[in-house]
Symmetry: C2
């Protein structure tokens, strides 16, 4: 799978690209059936909401779950990023963001690269987020909001918010967000499970809580050019990884293969 | 202004009715320009968010502000409710719900009549909410979510939630909400400032927080048939009113008249 010239132009201009139905229902099913087992585990990689129960984020599932390991090497995820950063990539961060029905809390306005630069000393923005929806994302269950074109502003000043949610985050102030929205507007890409979303690591984004009875699970791969690896190891290795070896993509059928193997 | 037979049928079937552009931009302007002055007042009717600063709800603005007094007697608000409850109405509750940009917090899943029955001993559901948007309501700034047809279920069991937000509320449990949504789905009426929304006092609803840089101010009139007035005075009179005299609607131009008077 190669991005077209138009897609690359749109990404560079707006800072994101939305590709509906990049994965089939069957492929999503292979991943979804693993979630209850993963969330039920009592392990440090499961960061919980303020209620101390609901899983907010599972880090590094590619290191302990076979289906998510394969997703982390899937050619439809890794290929487009290798194309955009023009070279081999390693896995900087791997997150399953649950935003569970009723209990999923907000993510405040932030840039991902702001954290990678400040906490991890990642040298440049030669890195990117690519996400796949494991649930239908609608207007009701906490869709991600992007400020188009905000990635062109570099790393913006931010404060370290340790109180709003259970997970600390470098967040932008209201005046900055209001000004960026005045310039670029606001979008919230929605679509069926299996849809894919790529966005620039400096694109300003946030997401509201989920009051609906529908989960809104999204898996995020943060992929970084191997030469652009982080220089500081302040955060735990299961949050900011230390294995800088280039990812070798698997075959396109790797998720369905797993289902077939399990059935046999 | 009279509701049509089709509108009445839709209201009875789904529990709500949305009428875009019921008020003009000029009429909305007459009300909006009063808001900063009202929110700046240090008075008990201004209930603030958990931050202790941002106004969450202003109660009873019709008792101390002329523009909102007129809105509370506006024929386009009071008329349709008199038609639906088939008789004269009094003002049971009057709220300006600010849901301010960035800081506006959630309203959990609830039925309004649940509170009116439990706290105020209002005898029957011969009462209704009618709301007008003072800002454009979009997918980004915390639109109200309704569960269609849920008003047919009577008063549902609820718990008194005094911790989630700054305002205590009788809220429904997750299993109940999930079941109701399975049956009736979920809708979130959106539209320009000046749009009007009526809903049955047993219709289950909620609204997410507002992370956007756009305010989402909505004014709610809770109008009750005069014979159905409350029997218990547990809550303060500026929350659950005690004046059961029938409202006499003003003329249709009453808001623009005020602007003209002010200009002269």
């Amino acid at each position: 799978m190669r991005l077209t010239e138009d897609q690359i132009r749109a990404f560079n201009e707006d800072g994101y690209l939305f590709i509906p139905n990049q994965f089939t229902r069957a492929e999503v099913g292979v991943l979804k059936r693993e979630l209850p087992g993963i969330f039920a585990q009592d392990r440090k990689e499961n960061v919980r909401e303020k209620d101390g129960k609901t899983v907010r984020t599972t880090f590094a599932a590619h290191t302990f779950n076979e289906a998510f390991r394969r997703l982390g090497r899937h050619p439809r995820m890794v290929g487009p990023v290798m194309q955009l950063v023009d070279g081999p990539v390693y896995m900087h961060q791997y997150k399953i963001n649950a935003k569970a029905a009723f209990d999923g809390d907000v993510w405040q306005w932030h840039q991902d690269y702001g954290t990678w630069a400040r906490d991890d000393l990642m040298p440049t923005t030669r890195a990117m987020n690519i996400a796949v929806f494991l649930d239908d994302v609608t207007e009701f269950n906490g869709a991600l909001m992007f400020i188009p074109k905000s990635h062109k502003r570099g790393v913006l000043e931010a404060g370290h918010d340790t109180v709003t949610t259970s997970y600390p985050l470098w967040t932008l102030d209201h005046a900055t967000v209001a000004q960026l929205v005045k310039e670029g507007g606001l979008v919230a890409p929605k679509g069926p499970a299996g849809s894919m979303l790529m966005f620039h690591c400096n694109l300003v984004h946030a997401s509201p809580g989920n009051l609906s009875p529908w989960d809104r699970t999204i898996v995020y791969l943060s992929l970084c050019h191997v030469e652009n690896h982080i220089r500081q190891f302040k955060r735990p290795e299961w949050i900011a990884h230390r294995d800088f070896a280039p990812i070798v993509p698997l075959v396109d059928d790797c998720l369905l293969d797993l289902a077939r193997e399990a059935a046999e």
